[in-house]
């Protein structure tokens, strides 16, 4: 049950946490932030602080009177039961995917429908709103994701294994936040196959001609 990993070194930025608390992120980023927080109590606590600011903003907002009879209408709504909340799917204790991802995939890694994208790398695009895309990446041990730059922001959360790029090593629970200035070539650690969740709000720019041609198929 406890996914808490005490060795997480790479965390969310304050700006991303505040934007998540405020509800200002595209769905694919929300998913990635929620998945990281599921694995990281430090960021869960930081999120709590940013949500607390939201509470203070709400508390200090100038109230707008509710319509007449609104309390009665709300109580009636409660008595009717209203639309039932879909219960969260229980996550198996030995699963790799944290609960929010589990919900998007409809299970754990065994039900992911991988599509090969070349050089042994596989991906599965997750259904989110179109302002940003989220996909699971499967990188065989020792293999590389093509060298790429970014137009927007790219978040990469490690779920299993590890990858190394020009900046550092990223293990389970670690999140890398890449922006326009960064060109990098993540390489999966030799020890094990690496599975990541990657979200981006713009298409990636690959360096070589090969990957550029592949881009329409990759849908990234």
């Amino acid at each position: 049950m406890t996914m808490k990993n005490t060795t997480i070194d790479h965390h969310l930025t304050d700006a991303l946490l505040m934007a998540y608390a405020a509800g200002a992120l595209p769905e694919a980023f929300n998913l990635t932030v929620a998945a990281h927080i599921s694995m990281c109590d430090e960021c869960r606590a930081r999120l709590g602080a940013f949500e607390c600011v939201g509470g203070a903003v709400l508390e200090q907002a100038e109230a707008v009177p509710m319509s007449e009879g609104s309390l009665g209408a709300t109580l009636a709504r409660i008595r009717e039961g209203g639309p039932a909340e879909a219960p969260r799917t229980p996550r198996p204790a030995d699963g790799v995917l944290p609960a929010p991802l589990h919900e998007y995939v409809g299970g754990d890694l065994d039900v992911v429908r991988w599509r090969p994208v070349g050089m042994g790398v596989k991906q599965a695009i997750l259904p989110t709103s179109s302002e940003a895309t989220a996909r699971l990446l499967y990188i065989p041990a020792g293999a590389a994701v093509p060298d790429h730059g970014h137009r927007g922001t790219e978040l990469t959360l490690v779920l299993q294994g590890a990858f190394v790029d020009e900046t550092d090593r990223f293990g389970p629970g670690d999140i890398e936040i890449a922006d326009e200035e960064m060109d990098h070539m993540p390489v999966a650690d030799i020890g094990a196959d690496c599975i990541c969740l990657a979200a981006t709000d713009a298409s990636l720019r690959f360096r070589g001609i090969g990957p550029r041609l592949a881009q329409p198929f990759l849908r990234i």
Partner: protein, 212 residues
Amino acid sequence: MATVECALSPPPGLHGKGAGREAVTCGATSDLMEKTENDDWVACMTAIRDAQDEAAFARLFGHFAPRVKAFLMRSGADATLAEECAQEAMATLWNKAHLFDPARASVATWVFTIARNRRIDALRRQKRPEPEDLPWGPEPERDQAEALALQQETDQLGVALAQLPEKQRDLIEKAYFGDLTHSEIAEQTGLPLGTIKSRIRLALDRLRHAMK
């Protein structure tokens, strides 16, 4: 794209922990009143959870529903939609009363998260992925003192927010009303968030320990 980083850097006199404490002392008089109010809201939540107490709900409704409505209108909803969403948000508060943990959030904070999710659902028509739930642990009422301390930190944060220079406060409000994108939101808020983070972290550590 214009960022608001400079404007959100801490104002003079609000650097570091000492300044945060100073801000709190200034608000000490109104603090006392707020504290009892917050405790009241927590008691109302417990009464709803344990006894489906409609009178307790009416009190929470009277205070929070008009604020949720205002929040939604500031976020771009018209009065009709805001009214509808505020009613739904308050119904959610009732239905999820068993998930409220006073050691990790004040009632205002919790209402805010419900209103925010309602806004994403109604205005952007999107799902909101949430982190994995953490249960309360084996002892729901595990530590009154812990909850009280959290409520106090929350009040102090409210005071600090009210005391920010207008321009800076305005930017924070804009962010929470959904008017800024994540790249327009800056790293610095000028608010003393370290203590409240540590408090929540402590509650999480105890919870993790209890779950083992």
